[in-house]
Subunit: 230 residues, 2 copies
DNA sequence: ATGATGTAGATTGTCTACAATCACCGAGGG
DNA sequence: CCCTCGGTGATTGTAGACAATCTACATCAT
C-alpha cells in the first residue's frame, strides 16, 4: 500500500517526516526509536524506514549502536561548544567566499528571509522562528555553491535545531528576539568585511552563552537514560 | 553464507571493501555501479550492499539518481577549487583549536605519520603514499575531537583520495614528493601560529596548482559518459 | 546476601521475492 | 528527414520473513 507518492523516493520523504517529528518534540533527545515502531507509525515497511533513519544518522540527529538500538542525539556541552566554534569558522569562510559576488538576488533573498523571521517571531511560533533563523543563516552557505560546505552546514543546522527545539519546549523559553539579527543583516549587506566578521563572532558568542547556561544544568545523563519503555 | 565475520556490521565492512575497490581503480570516476553486481562481487545480498553504498554516498564517493542508477563521483574543476579552499579554512581552524593543547602524544603521532609517509614514498607505492599523506593531515582533525569537523574532513579526504588515485593511474604521475611535508611538520611542531597558517595556505596553493592543471584538460564529460556497459 | 549464569524478550541485521520507475531503441506517421 | 510513441530491458525501490546479537531479568550456587 501507499504507492501514490511520486517524484521522490519514499526513504527521502520519510526522512523529512521523521525529522519534522523529532524537531516537533514527538521524540525527545536521548529517547530510543525503533525501526518497527516508526515503520508502523508512518505506515511503511522497515526497508524505507531504515533508509530514512540512515539518512538522519548521517545528518547527526540519530545515533545507533549495532544490534542494540537507535536513539535521538543528546548533545553535551562540549558538543555545543564544538558546534558554535565551527559555525564561526564556516560562516566567516562563507562570507569571504561570496563577499565580492553579492548581487541583487542575494540582497533580496537575505531581506526576504529576515522578513520571514520577523513574521514568525511576531506570530509567536517558536518552531517556525527557529527554522527561519537557520534559513537566514543558511543563505550564505547556499550562495557559496560549495557542496562540502553545504553538507557541513546541514549537520550543524540539524543539531542546532534539534537542541533549540527541545530546549524551548522543556523550559518555555522564547525563541530569537525580534532585533537579534538586525546588525547581522545590515552588515551582511554593507561594505566592511571585517565588521561583518566581528559581527559573526559576536553573534555566535551571544548565542553560545544563551545556550550553554542550560545544557550544563542537565549534564551527566547522556548514556544511561533508559526509562520510559512504553 | 559468509556469516563468520564479527563485531561489526556487514554493511560497514562492505563500505570499507567497496571504498578500497574504488580507490584502487577497480571502478573509475563516472563509471556506473549497480547494487546487484556489487552484491555478487562481494558475495552478499543487496540489503547490506545498499547500506554500504549509502554510506559511500554520504561520504561523497558515489552519486545516485532514484530509479536510474549509481555512479562513481566525477569531480569538476569547480569541485577541486571548493575542496581546496575548504581545506585551508578547516585546517587552519583545526590548528587554532589545538595549538595550545599540543602535547607529547600529538608530537610523536605527527612524526610517526610523517615517517610512514616517507616510507611509502621510498617504496614507490603511490596508493599508500596518498593514504599516508591524508593520514598525516588528518591528525590535527582527529586531535580536535570535534565530530562535525571530523565528518567534514572525511568528505574532503574521500574526494581527494578518489581524485588523486584516478589521476595517478590515468597519467602515471608520481605521488607526493619526499620533501613535500618537511615544512608542514616542522612548523606544526613549532611556536608560531602565523607561520603555520601561512604554510597551510602555501601548501594548499601548491597542491591546487598541481591538481588543476590536469582536471581542466578532461572537463566536459561529467554527465554524459555511458560507454563500457559490460 | 551476593555473585555468576542461563534464559527470554526485543532489536537490528540479512535474505529473497516482487513492484515501480526510468532509459534506451525501434517502428510508424507526419 | 524528423518527430512522436510504445515496447523492452535494466535498475532501484519496497515488502515481509528469518537469523544474529544484545540487554535485562530471573534463577541458582556460594
Amino acid at each position: 500500500m501507499t504507492g501514490m507518492i511520486k517524484r521522490e523516493t519514499m526513504g527521502a520523504q520519510l526522512g523529512s517526516l521523521l525529522r519534522a517529528a523529532i524537531l516537533s518534540g514527538e521524540f525527545q533527545p536521548g529517547e530510543a526509536v525503533t525501526e518497527t515502531a516508526l515503520a508502523v507509525r508512518f505506515g511503511v515497511s522497515r526497508g524505507p524506514m531504515r533508509e530514512a533513519m540512515r539518512h538522519l544518522m548521517d545528518e547527526g540527529l540519530l545515533v545507533t549502536v549495532p544490534y542494540t538500538g537507535t536513539r535521538v542525539l543528546q548533545l553535551t556541552s562540549a558538543d555545543i561548544d564544538d558546534i558554535y566554534s565551527m559555525r564561526i569558522c564556516l560562516e566567516i569562510f562563507a562570507f569571504e567566499q561570496i563577499w565580492e559576488r553579492r548581487d541583487e538576488a542575494f540582497r533580496t533573498a537575505l531581506t526576504q528571509r529576515h522578513a520571514a523571521l520577523l513574521e514568525a517571531i511576531d506570530d509567536g511560533d517558536d518552531i517556525r522562528s527557529i527554522d527561519a533563523e537557520l534559513d537566514l543563516h543558511g543563505l550564505v552557505y547556499e550562495t557559496c555553491g560549495n557542496s562540502i560546505l553545504l553538507s557541513s552546514w546541514s549537520g550543524i543546522r540539524a543539531r542546532l535545531q534539534l537542541y533549540w527545539a527541545a530546549h524551548h519546549r522543556a523550559h518555555g523559553i522564547t525563541g530569537p528576539k525580534r532585533e537579534s539579527h538586525d546588525d547581522y543583516v545590515r552588515l551582511a549587506l554593507g561594505d566592511s568585511r571585517e565588521r561583518m566578521k566581528d559581527e559573526i563572532r559576536d553573534h555566535m558568542s551571544r548565542g553560545l552563552d544563551k545556550t550553554m547556561a542550560f545544557v550544563s544544568s542537565v549534564e551527566g545523563q547522556k548514556a544511561g537514560s533508559n526509562r520510559r519503555k512504553k
